[in-house]
């Protein structure tokens, strides 16, 4: 089959709403885009364990501790589902981790900000997970079967993540003056990074048009961002939080909350490695990956010995 024929057939399968499975013929660029996007998504889940993990030992109640731990565990599990989805395209997890450590694979920039107070745990759950859910609900409809299935499972499991974050914020906003101050401070620091999670404006986005054509994305960055803003602004007001955007206003015609300009300079700075925690996050991942090396070696050596015994046993 000629490349042109393949491309045409592929596009018509996409247009018919069929899901593409790993063994199916697909354009190289489709495979590459998916590999990049899914591995980046997987790394984000795993790196995202760090800022929240920073507060597990200090969670202020038994309930809060259990919830936070279960949530971080979910992130790990979701990283795992996503690594598996990427592996179905013929890459090893080893290789993906190698790319992450070499700085060739990125993860969501939002995790390069520090969690300074307990309120940050609320803000991450509510804003960061809230933004992620908007994006992931869209990705559950994407054309690549394994990615779409992973997203469905992830969306189902993350149902509680945003709610627990909002609950933390709501409790603090009805608490002491110090708690309210902490909550507002976290809101101020996490609002803009959350909006940046949707990526550059549609006019600036380098990967978007092809991704839309192939239904790797089914909605644009700006549309998803707007959906998130509309939901979140109302939630903030409901518990008395101020959205740190002096230009934010409601448009009666479009029924949208219109945000002021996003600081893209900061966005690119953090993406390119110069955020407050880029170095720390990466160092942590590399350190514990290396420290686990001897454990993995031991388990593998054990499995090999067992195999030998099994092969030579006479039943």
């Amino acid at each position: 089959m000629s490349d042109e024929m393949m491309l045409k057939q592929f596009q018509s399968r996409i247009d018919n709403g069929e899901k593409i499975e790993p063994g199916d013929p697909m354009p190289d660029a489709y495979r590459k885009t998916l590999l990049r996007q899914i591995s980046q998504h997987a790394h984000s889940e795993v790196i995202g364990m760090q800022p929240e993990g920073n507060w597990v030992l200090r969670a202020p109640s038994l309930r809060a501790k259990k919830i936070l731990l279960a949530k971080i565990q979910d992130e790990g599990g979701h990283g795992l589902y996503l690594y598996s989805a990427a592996e179905s395209l013929g890459i090893d997890r080893d290789e993906m981790i190698g790319q992450l450590h070499a700085g060739k694979a990125k993860y969501s920039s939002v995790f390069n900000y520090p969690t300074l107070t307990w309120a940050d745990i609320g803000a991450i759950g509510w804003l960061v997970d809230g933004a992620a859910i908007v994006n992931q609900t869209m990705l559950a409809k994407c054309s690549f079967g394994p990615y779409s299935r992973a997203m469905l499972r992830i969306c189902k499991e993350e149902g509680f993540h945003q709610r627990q974050g909002y609950e933390i914020m709501a409790r603090m906003m009805s608490g002491t003056a110090a708690q309210k101050e902490m909550a507002q401070d976290a809101m101020n620091r996490w609002w803009w990074p959350s909006l940046m999670m949707f990526g550059p404006h549609d006019t600036e986005s380098v990967h978007s048009s092809e991704s839309m054509k192939w239904k790797i994305k089914v909605e644009s960055n700006d549309r998803l961002r707007q959906r998130f803003i509309n939901r979140t602004v109302e939630q903030a007001h409901h518990i008395g939080l101020i959205v740190p955007d002096p230009l934010l206003k409601y448009n009666d015609q479009t029924m949208n909350w219109e945000a002021g300009p996003i600081n893209w300079e900061e966005f690119y700075k953090v993406i390119n490695g110069d955020g407050p925690c880029n170095h720390k996050r990466m160092l942590h991942h590399i350190k514990y990956h290396r420290e686990g090396g001897w454990v993995r070696d031991a388990a593998r050596a054990f499995a090999e010995k067992q195999q030998e015994t099994a092969d030579t046993s006479i039943y």
Partner: protein
């Protein structure tokens, strides 16, 4: 990286979970484990955290044989015109009951 250039993330396994007694095992996803026993334990921790199952199978991914996309036509299309394998193909005399 570093000390572990041929680093290992263990081999890959496919996990099948039986959601309730008597139900068929359903594919839940994949994971990595060094051996069978660890694969079972990891499957429990990764795929049954929310009481999803009562029994687990794990199979090394390499042991699974799969049809290829180009097999689709010859494998599955021929079944399409054999409606006589289904009960509704047959016309029963009016008033027949118990069939």
């Amino acid at each position: 990286m570093g000390m572990n250039t041929n680093d290992n993330q263990f081999k890959q396994w496919e996990v099948f979970i039986q959601p309730r007694s008597g139900a068929p095992y359903e594919h839940a996803g994949s994971l990595h484990a060094s051996d069978q026993q660890m694969a079972l334990q990891n499957a429990r921790d990764v795929y049954a955290r929310r009481s999803e199952g009562r029994s687990i199978w794990v199979v090394p991914t390499v042991s699974i044989a799969a049809t290829k996309p180009e097999d689709e036509a010859e494998f599955f299309d021929p079944a399409g015109d054999k409606l006589y394998r289904t009960p509704n193909f047959y016309k029963m005399p009016k008033g027949t009951t118990g069939l």
